[in-house]
C-alpha cells in the first residue's frame, strides 16, 4: 500500500516502471514468460505464439488508430506484404530469416507510406473507406500476380535456423516471438513518451490545434503510417516463418477486422490493451471450440453450429465492449490495479 508518490531525482521520476508494485508485476511477468514453455502443453504453446504475433500486429495498428487517430482497414494487406516479402526473400534468394524478417518489415513500411501518402488528405470515414479499397487491391494483386506470389497456391517457407537449430517447434519458436514481442512493447512504450509519440496524440486529439502549436501534421502522420506498417509487416513476416506456409486467405479483410477488434476490445491507445485484446481474440474461438468438443457427446448438433457461434460471439463481444466499456480491457485492468493500490482504504 502506498501513501504517496515521492521521487527525489529526475531519473527515477522518468522511469518506465516507477512504483514498487509495478516493478513486482513486471518481474512476475518476466518470470512467467520464462517458465511458461516448460509447463505448457503444445496446445497452449501454439496459442501463446499466436498471441505474441497478434500482439505485435495489434501494437502496430494501435500506433496508427489508437495514438494517431487514423482509421485503417488495411491491416490484412500490410501483413500480407510482410509475410510474402519475408517468405519470398527466403525461398527465392536464400536470405536467412533474421535478415529477411526486418527487410520485409521495411518493405511493408514503404508500402504503408504509399497507402498513407494519398490518405493524408482524408479523415475518419473516408480514410477507412480508402484503406478498405487498398486492402481489396492488395488482395487482388496477391492472388493474381502468379509469377511473384504463386497466386492462390500456398507459398511454402522452410523452417528458420538459428545457431544450428531448426526453429520448427512451437517451443523453440516461442523464444523468438517472446523476445521480439517484448522488444516491440518496450519500443512502443518509450516511443509514446517521446516527442514523436506526443505529436501523434496531439494530432489524434485535434489536428488543427496540433498544427497551430507547431506539429508538422503531414510529416508525423506519414511517420505514423510507416512505423505502424513496419510493426504490422514484422508480425506478418513472423507469421509466415512460424506457420512455414503463406496463403492469401490469412490476410483478408476479416483479418483487418479482427485486429481492429483487438485494439477496440483491448483499449485504444494502450500497449497493455493491445496484448489483452490480442489474447482475447485469439483465445475466444479456441475456448468456444473446446467447449463445443466437450459437448460433442451430450449434444452432437453443437459441432455443426460451432463456426456460427464463434462468429456471433465475436460480433457480440465487439458490440458489448463498445456500448458498455469503450475504453476496453485496459481500463478494466486499470480499475483492478487502482483498487489494490490503495486497498483497503479506498478513499
Amino acid at each position: 500500500m502506498e501513501s504517496g508518490i515521492f521521487f527525489s531525482d529526475y531519473r527515477s521520476d522518468m522511469a518506465l516502471r516507477r512504483m514498487p508494485l509495478q516493478k513486482v508485476r513486471t518481474g512476475l511477468l518476466l518470470v512467467g514468460l520464462v517458465v511458461f514453455p516448460f509447463l505448457a502443453t503444445p496446445y497452449w504453446l501454439n496459442l501463446a505464439n499466436q498471441i505474441a504475433i497478434a500482439t505485435i500486429g495489434a501494437i502496430g495498428l494501435n500506433i496508427l488508430v489508437g495514438y494517431t487517430g487514423q482509421i485503417s482497414l488495411g491491416q490484412g494487406a500490410f501483413m500480407a506484404v510482410g509475410a510474402y516479402g519475408s517468405g519470398l526473400l527466403t525461398v527465392r534468394l536464400d536470405v536467412p530469416f533474421y535478415l529477411s524478417i526486418p527487410a520485409a518489415a521495411a518493405i511493408t513500411a514503404v508500402a504503408g507510406l504509399v497507402v498513407g501518402l494519398p490518405s493524408l488528405r482524408l479523415k475518419g470515414l473516408y480514410l477507412a473507406v480508402a484503406t478498405l479499397a487498398a486492402q481489396q487491391i492488395v488482395e487482388f494483386v496477391v492472388t493474381h500476380w502468379d509469377g511473384l506470389t504463386g497466386g492462390t497456391e500456398a507459398l511454402v517457407v522452410p523452417a528458420p535456423e538459428l545457431f544450428g537449430a531448426r526453429m520448427n517447434t512451437d517451443g523453440r519458436f516461442y523464444w523468438i516471438l517472446v523476445v521480439v514481442a517484448l522488444a516491440v512493447a518496450l519500443f512502443a512504450a518509450n516511443l509514446f513518451r517521446s516527442r514523436v509519440g506526443r505529436a501523434w496524440v496531439a494530432i489524434r486529439d485535434q489536428d488543427i490545434a496540433a498544427s497551430a502549436i507547431g506539429v508538422n501534421v503531414f510529416g508525423y502522420k506519414l511517420l505514423a503510417f510507416a512505423t505502424s506498417s513496419f510493426l504490422v509487416g514484422l508480425s506478418g513476416a513472423l507469421l509466415a516463418h512460424y506457420r512455414s506456409i503463406v496463403t492469401w486467405e490469412r490476410f483478408t479483410i476479416e483479418v483487418s477486422i479482427s485486429y481492429l477488434a483487438m485494439i477496440i476490445i483491448g483499449g485504444l491507445g494502450t500497449i497493455s490493451g493491445s496484448f489483452f485484446g490480442a489474447s482475447l481474440i485469439v483465445l475466444l474461438p479456441a475456448m468456444i471450440n473446446t467447449l463445443g468438443r466437450s459437448l460433442q457427446d451430450t449434444a452432437p448438433w453443437a459441432a455443426t453450429v460451432l463456426p456460427y457461434v464463434q462468429q456471433g460471439v465475436f460480433g457480440l463481444v465487439i458490440i458489448l465492449f463498445l456500448v458498455l466499456e469503450p475504453e476496453g480491457l485496459a481500463k478494466l485492468w486499470r480499475n483492478v490495479k487502482d483498487y489494490f493500490r490503495v486497498w483497503p482504504f479506498s478513499y
Binding site: V65, G69, I71, P118, L120, R121, L122, K123, G124, L125, Y126, A128, V129, A130, L132, A133, A134, Q136, I137, F140, H144, D207, I208, S211, V217, F218, I253, I257, L260, A261, I264, L268, V305, P307, Y308, V309, Q310, Q311, G312, F314, G315, L316, V317, I318, I319, L322, V323, P326
Partner: protein, 292 residues
C-alpha cells in the same frame, strides 16, 4: 468492336448497377441522418433475402403477403438494431461507429448462417420469367423490374426528403445536429426512422438479388462492393447513389467483357481511390470535407 456485345454489356451493366443503387440508397439514408457508414448493409441484404425465402418458400405464403411480411420484419430488425446498438453510441468517435456496425455484421451473419445454413437455396421465382428485345439486346423481365423498382424508390425517397416531416428533420439533423436539437427535433425518432428505412430498402434489394442471383451467402459481398458506388455518387445523395450505381455497374460490365484477368473485381476500388483523391464528397455530395 461488336455493337451487339457492347449493347448487351451496357444493358447487363446498367441492371447490375441498379441493384447496387438500391443497396447504396440504404447507406445514403443512414449516412444522411446520422453520419454513420453502415458496414452491416450487406448483412441486411442477406437477412432480407433469407426472410423472403423463409416466408414464401418455407411458410408457403403467397408472394404479395410474403414480401410484405419481409419488409415489416426487416423494419423491426432495423428498429431493434438502432435502439440497442446505435443509440448508446450517439456522439462517440467515428472509429466506434465503424466498429460497432462491423460487429453487428458479424453477429447478423452468424444468426443468418445459424438459422438457414450456408448452402445456396433455390428461390421460388415470382417474377414471370421472360425476355424482351430492346435495340437488339436481350433483357430479362427481372432486370427490368429492378430498374423500375429503383426508379420508384428514387422518386419516393426524393419526395420523402422534400415534403415529409421526418424527411425534412433528417436533412436538418444532417446539416447541423445542435441546431436541429434546439429546434425541437427528436434525434432518436429520426434515427429510428432512418434505420427502419435502410433496413427496408436493403430488404427490397435482397429480394431482387434473391430473384436474379439466388439466395446464397455471396450476397454479403455486394455490401462491400457498394462502397465505390456511394463514394462516387456522394455519401449523402440519393440521386448520386443511382448515378454511381449505374456508372460502377457499367464499368464492371465493360471490364468483364473486354478484359480477361478478372480486373472487374478491383476496377471499382481503383475508381473509389481516384474519386477520394480528386473529389472526396463525390459527384453529388455536399462539400463539407475538411482537409488538413
Amino acid at each position: 468492336m461488336d455493337s451487339d456485345v457492347f449493347l448487351q454489356l451496357t444493358v447487363s451493366g446498367l441492371s447490375n448497377g441498379m441493384v447496387y443503387a438500391l443497396v447504396a440508397v440504404g447507406f445514403v439514408v443512414i449516412f444522411k441522418a446520422s453520419d454513420v457508414i453502415n458496414f452491416a448493409q450487406g448483412e441486411f441484404l442477406l437477412f432480407g433475402a433469407y426472410l423472403a425465402f423463409a416466408f414464401i418458400a418455407q411458410f408457403g405464403l403467397p408472394w404479395s403477403l410474403g414480401v410484405l411480411a419481409t419488409l415489416l420484419t426487416a423494419a423491426m430488425i432495423g428498429l431493434i438494431v438502432e435502439r440497442l446498438v446505435l443509440r448508446p453510441l450517439i456522439g462517440e468517435p467515428v472509429i466506434s461507429m465503424i466498429m460497432v456496425t462491423i460487429g453487428l455484421s458479424s453477429l447478423l451473419r452468424a444468426v443468418v448462417n445459424g438459422i438457414w445454413g450456408v448452402r445456396p437455396k433455390a428461390f421460388p421465382n415470382f417474377i414471370p420469367s421472360g425476355e424482351v428485345e430492346f435495340l437488339g439486346a436481350i433483357v430479362g423481365f427481372d432486370r427490368l423490374l429492378v430498374i423500375a423498382i429503383a426508379a420508384i424508390l428514387l422518386t419516393v425517397l426524393t419526395l420523402f426528403f422534400r415534403y415529409t416531416r421526418d424527411g425534412i428533420a433528417m436533412r436538418a439533423i444532417a446539416d447541423d445536429q445542435q441546431a436541429a436539437l434546439s429546434m425541437g427535433i427528436s434525434i432518436k425518432r429520426v434515427l429510428a426512422v432512418a434505420w427502419a428505412m435502410a433496413a427496408i430498402t436493403a430488404a427490397v434489394a435482397g429480394i431482387m438479388l434473391a430473384n436474379t442471383v439466388g439466395v446464397s451467402h455471396d450476397i454479403i459481398f455486394i455490401g462491400l462492393r457498394v462502397f465505390p458506388v456511394v463514394i462516387l455518387g456522394g455519401l449523402d445523395s440519393v440521386p448520386g447513389a443511382i448515378v454511381g450505381g449505374g456508372v460502377i455497374g457499367l464499368l464492371e460490365s465493360y471490364t468483364a467483357g473486354y478484359t480477361t484477368s478478372g480486373l472487374e473485381l478491383i476496377v471499382p476500388y481503383i475508381v473509389l481511390i481516384l474519386v477520394l483523391m480528386v473529389r472526396p464528397y463525390g459527384l453529388f455530395g455536399k462539400e463539407i470535407i475538411e482537409r488538413v
